[in-house]
Subunit: 372 residues, 2 copies
């Protein structure tokens, strides 16, 4: 862990995902499992073809459960500490694909309590406001309003607290210390919080009064909650163990690291104007050579280039076309300036549609919101 | 602290209240303050004459606040881990006296979450049931339904959690470790719980949107919450500091120690039948001599006798009469058998009325219950 750090509150350095699979003890997403999922979906999602989703726990068992005619629910979340950027959308887009494929209910947690308690700077009003802003981006992605339940921890705390105390009763300080690296100076709200994030794993079972396991699509940094707390506690409380399917982080526009709201120029926010997007993309780090001449001669390096990764993960669906982009860069046929200009156009096209849906979402909140 | 222990979860040994005042750093309740309170009340309550309430924090300031024409609220509570016994009623009876005197609102917390998380044996259903049973005893004491708000933590957790996270953000594990003796093996629910018990200190201010300090009448074992958490956090969050007025424990019927539900034969429960009361009292430890002859000759020792203490604290209002009991015992004029028989009569008289009111209380719950 010398060169990179992945915790629920910090992702730093160049992440070695193979190492992470070993360290966290998750299972690589096999081609067989991907094919099985794709068959249900009637098509292989780009995020699966490009291995953006790469790891899981018990996803095979969830498929078996589903294939035996039984219901499961989806659960994912967002820590509302700022505006939504493209990186946040990755697991949500995939979650919608899972919802469509399995006609599954989705429980979407906005942890405004966590972000308030974690940050010395943020007030509860601020994290609540971010939660409502983030919610617009979630709704804009087209989730089924009949099957999607979005909640803020502070507004659904009666239901959540009643499950969380069951979890917390079975979770010692030793455990959260080992799992999250908490210290004696950690505040007691953050110490309790893993129980609040675990509660929705069991929420469908509690609400429906019958066993409904959850599948959690989320970035790999959230795994400690499920590995260290939820799965252990499920066994002790006789709740179904939650399954997970993990994605990588979308890189930021700067060199290395994930797209992060704490470095605004490294991130494309969903509310960015076309001019802002064009400016941010044009200033982004690339795998290009120091001069156009050199690049024409020796080619660029798409392997370290966030611009190329954006095409690869989000903005070039066609497998052949993305391969072409890759080799044209390597061969010095594609210059960074043109590559960036085209990406900005595609991002802006995506955002124009998203922003329209986001505006409409303001009137749809009541169809999705779950409150006590 | 070698000979006795007083924490919110354990009271053991013969409590030295003077030592406790020094250790906890509370202020002895002065005659001057007692007179001031009694003047407002139009009479000096037996619990004050007998010094059952003996210590405070900022009670003088609450009186000043009240005398300047401003409103304060009362806050007390109960951990529903079993049935109500006479010992529990002491602070509640005094709380009603304070409510009548100051026409103050009362917030009454039933910590069913705490008792569930603390006890490996108790289920949440059990602590909730105890909470509703205990509630009947509270209502039976005659609190003003317009000014009294009783709530279970699990049923009022939306409101409480939103205040508790403010408290918890300002409370580290180091602090609760030092204040409550928590260890690494303490569960994360208990670690968070002090924030839940602190929340009602600030509840009137939050609900009314203006500064309303709370006065907490409670047994001295609860002091760590206010000393260690609430008062510190109030300063940091700019909430009014809660004031306290502390009572001693009613002794149990066994030798030494407080009346405790965990030793059923040492406690008179509010639902005990006349036969049970008579039996328990007749078998109680006393300060009597080994034989009637010896007692007639050398007298008894009322200073160590729980039977005498029951007269003193609860069942002989008349100061002269209680003094007579004391000296008649010392002089060998009063035999344990007669003393016990008379006490049983008085307890049963009290309980007959209480049980009638308790029965009526079943229909009044809705007038008192606060839920999200």
């Amino acid at each position: 862990m010398a060169s990179f750090t992945v915790t629920p509150w910090e992702v730093k350095g160049k992440v070695d995902y193979e190492k992470l699979i070993k360290e966290f003890g998750t299972i690589p997403l096999s081609d067989e499992l991907i094919d099985k999922l794709s068959k249900h979906a009637g098509g292989k999602h780009m995020f699966l073809r490009r291995k953006l989703f790469f790891s899981h726990r018990d996803f095979d068992n969830i498929l078996k459960w589903y294939e035996s005619g039984k219901e499961f629910a989806l659960y994912t979340g967002r820590g509302p500490s700022g505006e939504t950027h493209l990186g946040h959308l990755v697991p949500w887009i995939f979650t919608r694909y899972l919802q469509e494929t399995f006609n599954a209910e989705l429980y979407f947690q906005l942890t405004d309590d966590e972000k308030y308690m974690y940050s010395p700077k943020l007030s509860l009003e601020e994290t609540k406001n971010y939660a409502y802003e983030n919610m617009l981006d979630i709704i804009a992605l087209g989730f089924d309003p009949k099957k999607t339940f979005i909640f803020l921890d502070t507004e659904y705390s009666k239901t959540l607290y009643n499950i969380a105390i069951q979890v917390a009763k079975k979770t010692t300080f030793s455990t959260v210390k080992a799992v999250f690296g908490f210290t004696n100076e950690t505040n007691t709200g953050m110490i309790f919080f893993p129980a609040m994030q675990t509660a929705p794993c069991f929420l469908p079972t509690v609400l429906k009064g019958k066993e409904i396991p959850t599948l959690i699509p989320a970035a790999i940094d959230q795994d400690p909650y499920w590995r260290g707390i939820a799965r252990e506690v499920a066994r002790k409380l006789n709740y179904p163990k939650p399954a997970q399917i993990h994605c990588m982080f979308l890189p930021g526009l700067a060199e290395g690291g994930k797209m992060s709201a704490s470095q605004p120029d490294s991130a494309i926010f969903t509310t960015d104007s076309p001019e802002t997007v064009t400016r941010k993309v044009s200033r982004a780090f690339t795998g290009g050579a120091p001069s156009v001449e050199e690049q024409k001669k020796n080619g660029g390096n798409p392997d370290i280039c966030p611009i190329h990764k954006y095409y690869y993960y989000l903005f070039e669906e066609d497998d052949k076309a993305v391969e072409e982009l890759y080799y044209n860069c390597k061969k010095g046929k594609l210059m960074c300036k043109d590559c960036k200009a085209e990406l900005a156009v595609r991002i802006n096209k995506f955002l124009a549609k998203h922003q329209k849906e986001r505006e409409k979402a303001k009137k749809k909140i009541k169809d999705f919101l779950l409150r006590d």
